[in-house]
């Protein structure tokens, strides 16, 4: 019953023929940032209105952002400070930096933040949850499809991306979903004409959805699908088999890598190219991280035990019960993409705030916590609320500086792009945004944004409809 009704919203539906998006068509939000608007009454929209009219162009050669409180994240917050942008990079950050003839941008009273990074999302791979034709996030197969890549399937014109961007999200990781090893993700900029132009890092990580340890206690006569019902013993056997399958798969991939190395050294015959094993190479060699998706404590512990046997870096995603293993995670320096701040308690003995407090508990133990909304389709539409997961954690004990890092620097580190993104430091990409208040406060509005030095539009389907209907003449 429960399952059935959940389909009301999420099951497939056809896209009506009358659907016409030309009415709202516009190029990716990108604008020349050489002229600056007057202050407007409506702060949240001042960017959108005028930027929409501009034609796409190249980034300004050199910009000096001044007057704003600069949340460098890496170092201390400068109130106020200046940021010099040149050639798409941050040239300097300080209380005052030499202008060097850069165009001045007055951001008095504003706050400057590094762009927010949304890891572990279906953004770009989904449009409307209930419309199957718009779903590209979940592949099928025989449990292991490491050669599936998400970056190439992102829809650059998804209406969801500008909506995310309008609240500070400048890059995101579309995650392939499905079975045990679902594939590889990429890090994408929330702006660009093509997937290639959007791509920041590809591949980013391999995704391993750890098998559940939970037994299904539903009696056979109550099972929704009696043909698929399994006894507890059978379920136990199956979950053991799945764990073995993971170990085997990585062992086989390792053997392939060694055989390939041996062939390269002339110690063995050349191998036939097997795409799946090729895809596994960076992971068995420890060059790129494996994101393990696990929520329940027994899954997490099993994943940790498995990780001991691997060379690769592990990132734990979802991680509902990670707070129960905080010390182990800290000792092994495994960062956590916490996705359950807004999840109801799972156990009837849990305190009501168990998931509100989890990031603080992890932090106190020494775990780096980044935030994720989850990889569901609806989560992608709601990704703009990512900072408020961190804010809720702050209300329940996480230091604000850590919350901010959990939206910027820590995800950048997880994604292996901390040299380019995640903080406002000289040498990093000029990917940042200005707000009229604390980004952790829902009431604050994002007003300006630059991605790799280019100012981008904050217009979206939402602002366009807002403008349109705000101006609807009152009927007679």
């Amino acid at each position: 019953m429960r399952k059935f009704i959940s389909h009301f919203r999420f099951e497939r539906a056809g896209l009506p023929a009358t659907f016409n998006r030309r009415r709202f068509a516009s190029p990716p939000g990108r604008a020349r940032a050489l002229t600056f608007p007057r202050r407007r009454g409506c702060l949240s929209l001042c960017g959108a209105v005028w930027l929409a009219a501009l034609t796409p162009g190249v980034a300004a050669e050199s910009l000096l952002l001044s007057g704003a409180t600069v949340h460098t994240v890496a170092g201390e917050t400068l109130a106020p400070g200046q940021v010099l942008i040149r050639g798409g990079k941050i040239a300097a950050v300080g209380q005052t930096v030499p202008a060097d003839g850069a165009a001045q941008v007055d951001l008095a009273g504003r706050h400057l933040y590094p762009g927010l990074i949304a890891l572990n999302t279906a953004l770009g791979l989904t449009e409307i949850s209930a419309v199957r034709a718009t779903q590209d996030s979940t592949e099928v197969g025989d449990d292991f499809t490491p050669d599936v890549e998400s970056g190439i399937a992102v829809n650059p014109d998804s209406e969801l991306i500008p909506v995310a961007r309008a609240n500070g999200i400048t890059s995101f990781e579309p995650v392939p979903q499905g079975h045990l090893i679902s594939g590889q993700s990429a890090l994408m900029a929330a702006d660009g004409w093509t997937t290639e132009q959007m791509t920041i890092r590809n591949p980013l990580a391999l995704h391993l959805f750890w098998p559940s340890r939970e037994l299904d206690f539903t009696p056979k006569e109550k099972a929704r699908n009696r043909a698929q019902w399994k006894s507890l013993a059978d379920q136990d056997q199956k979950r053991r088999a799945r764990l073995r399958a993971i170990a085997d798969f990585f062992a086989e991939a390792g053997a392939y890598a060694r055989a390939k190395d041996a062939a390269a050294r002339g110690q063995a015959l050349a191998l036939e190219i097997i795409p799946a094993w090729e895809a596994m190479l960076p992971y068995v060699r420890g060059e790129r991280p494996v994101v393990v998706h696990a929520d329940e404590i027994r899954q997490i512990k099993a994943a940790l035990a498995w990780a001991e046997t691997q060379r690769c870096r592990i990132i734990l995603a979802g991680a509902r019960d990670a707070w129960m293993a905080a010390d182990q995670l800290a000792a092994r320096k495994i960062p956590v993409l916490y996705g359950h701040v807004h999840t109801l308690p799972a156990r009837d003995t849990d305190p009501y705030d168990v998931h509100f407090r989890a990031p603080a508990i992890l932090h106190q133990a020494g775990v780096r916590v980044a935030f994720t909304l989850g990889e569901g389709s609806f989560d992608a539409a709601m990704i703009r609320n990512l900072p408020y997961l961190a804010a809720q954690a702050v209300a329940f004990g996480l230091p604000e500086a850590e919350a901010l890092k959990g939206l910027t620097l820590y995800p950048a580190q997880c994604a292996g792009v901390a040299g380019r993104l995640g903080s406002l430091e000289a040498g990093k990409d000029a990917t940042l945004f200005a707000t009229d208040g604390d980004i952790l406060d829902i009431r604050s509005r994002v007003q300006r944004m630059w991605i790799a030095g280019r100012e981008v539009s904050l217009e979206s389907r939402h602002t366009r409809l807002y403008e349109k209907y705000k101006n609807r003449p009152r009927p007679e």
Partner: protein
Amino acid sequence: MSRKIASQWVCYLAVAALALGMQGHRASASQLLPPGFRPLPLGTHALTGGRIVIRPGEVLTNGTLVIREGRIAAVGKDVAPPADARVWEMKGTTIYAGFIDLYLPLEATNSAAASAPGEAAAGDGLTASGPRFFGVPGAQPDRGPAGPGYAVAGITPERQAVRSYAPKAAALAPMHALGFTAGLVAPARGIIRGTSALVALSGDAPNAVVIKPEVFQHIGFTPMESAERVYPSSLMGVIAAVRQAFFDARYYALDQADYQQNPQARPRPEFNPALAALAPAADRKQLVAVEPGSVLMADRAARIARELGLDFCLIASGQEWRRPDLAQATGAAFIVPLDFPELPSLPDEDDWEQVQLDSLRAWDWAPENAAVLRQRGLEIALTTWGLADKKKFRPNLRRALDRGLAEVDALAALTTVPAKLCGVASQLGTLEPGKLAYLTVVEGGSYFDPEAKVREVWIDGRVYPVPGEERGAAQAGASQSRTAAANKPKPAKAAADNPGERRRALQKTRLARSPLEGRGPLAEPKAILIEQATVWTCGPEDRLEDADVLFVGGKVKAVGKGLSRLSPDGDPLLVIDGRGRHVTPGLIDAHSHTAILGAVNESSLPSTAMVRIRDVVNSETANLRRQLAGGVTLVNLFHGSANPIGGQSCIIKLRDGAGPEDLVFDAAPPGIKFALGENVKQSGWGDRFVTRFPQTRMGVRTLIANRFIAAREYLARREQASGRSALPPRRDLELEALGEVLQGRRWIHCHAYRQDEILMLIRLMEGFGVRIGSFEHALEGYKVADEIARHGAAGSTFSDWWAYKFEVYDAIPYNGSLMRDRGVLVSFNSDSSELARRLYTEAAKAVKYGGMPEVEALRLVTLNPAKHLHLDARVGSLEPGKDADFALWSHSPLDSRTVCLQTWIEGKKYFDREQEAGRAAQLQAERAALLARAQKLAKLASGGGATSEEAKNSFFRVALEHEFDGCDRRELEE
């Protein structure tokens, strides 16, 4: 073949004997059987030397009991065995009145062939949704039983268990071994299931065994399970269907009588055997036995029975311990099963991790349930029903006794109480002269020693030995069970080493606490003064800095600066330091499904105006506490959005710990849920659901118009009939609810997304002279805000949801601000048990999107929903005279860093953050202790624990009350 002939003979002879019985005790010549048959024994017996329990609490040692012609002729110490009696030496035995099991489902007693057709009629009675009272028929064919009947599936009161009772010997033998001599054979599937029969468990010819052919009318609160979605598919639908059926039965009797009087002046009424069969129950001539399935539904069953004027008893769910107060309030007799959950054997030690406290509690409480009911002064009868292995009955009864059930009550529950409930107290239940000779004979001093073997039972004056010891050698191969083993004599000292005894000893005391513990008000001061806080009045005074609020007697007394610390009536005053704190009215969630028992939708028919959420309020869900922790005090519970015309809604206050009816907040005209668009045209239901009308937005309007025209007609006919002697129209619960809408006594709250459908409903209802209460979600409300405002409906919306289905692709977070700018009364709701915990930060989104002033933003979750629910005279703002519903916050309620510190309802504290950590620790400690005991017991049992599927099922059965606790419930419905 020969057996059949014999039984026909016996049957004939029994009738003859009965006819002759009055004339004397002489053995009748008609006991002569044709040659070839074994002759029948004579009918006079004297049982001497036994310990005779005449009735619970009255024992005769070394007495004699005389049986003549199937009846007890005499009983006493000085009774001499009659000369013609066969004398039975009963020394060393205890003789009880024969036990009666009050709930034997037909399928359990009948032989397979006999039970199939009888039970199928109720279980699979997929009578197509007739067009009578619930809207429009689906396109499914009528798969119900052929012939006349009631139009709703599962309502088959005309079924008589007695007509299909065909006992199988295999079902009787285990009952004899437990001491049972008579049983109530009941139809156990369907909703209004039919009548039960009291039968002797003798395996005699069917005609001979029936003691009373129709005893109870049986009702089960079991939704119809069918892939085709047959009405009623939900718990609330079942209750609506039951109510309607009884109203129909009353009407049917009047209608038939009217026809008898003027057969030529009126149309011929239809024949309905179901409604005719309900008449005895409706007229209080027959007890109704309700199987409600949970203690909350026991409460509801009692209320419905009182509304309908029925006499009733209840079949216990086994979980009355959850709310003994509600069980007690029913005042009903309970038929109590002893099917306790058994510990599972789990594949892996760490699988215990998955076991929730509630499962452990249910396991630990189960043996105490009978005692809990008895201690509350309720009459109980025991039943073997529910036991997959009937041999567990006596050990489980022993556990119930260990947990406080008195032996005298247990005996009454097997004898006098069931006899009384069946109305056969003059025939059965005690060992008094004149009663039927039904005896249960136990070796040793007490039935309640599970090791004491039932030697034999006597039924209608004939003995039925229980095979066992004397024939033990022959039977040994067939029965290796523990009971058989236990019957062998063994040294007394072995008992302590007996794993069974050790298990029993470990379970004698209860570790589990009551789920009611720690709930209810934490503090109830007469008066409260909050000093120097930021007060968000949400009234005309907006927000006051450094202000005080005085609450007296559950109401707001005053708001302002520098209020006196002297309580007006001299009552003790609780002073709360509000410095740095914020006070707001209790938050209101205008759209929720969070505390609904069972399904949120009656998703079978397109109009389900007859179902009421109030019937299925779940007072036990953990959601109440979790939302109190988010400052919420009042919630509007809606039926889901599966149908254009949904069910009647119910407003509750989160007075956690109170029973369902005491949560209800009745201060306003009630509402009804309507819905438009993708959900009701079944866009997302899958490929099978393409036949129910409507499948398009065009059809939605057609359907709603159709039902309102029908309702208008209904009102008109009722009006015409009033004051005249003519038969009034049949009461129709669907049209009655819609009629209330037409009369302005019930508000429509309509789930709607697209602007066209919003406009459609506005114009349609204006045509009926109806003002709509609110559009729910109204995510395109901003496109027709002027029209909504002009009509006068409110817009209860999400702060920022969008893109989850096609009709919300144009949803924008500016919706609230835009609607408000055009004069619509706007509120934000959760539609989610999770989101409901943080409505305050949802309100903040209105500041972000569209720049709503902060005091206005907070009104989105306080005063505005109070207004559109028409409750603003009582709640929604901190103004003198309103209810003292408020929350105390660490920061501004719109600040993401804020934490709710306390939540109060009507001057009583229901949440205090400082006590929460302690509460969780206590629950965790309780679970740890229970788990330790469970694991120890599981090890004691051979092989770890119960291995049968049934045992596992019972342990992991999630209580109906907690089925959705961990679920968002937002997916269920919008």
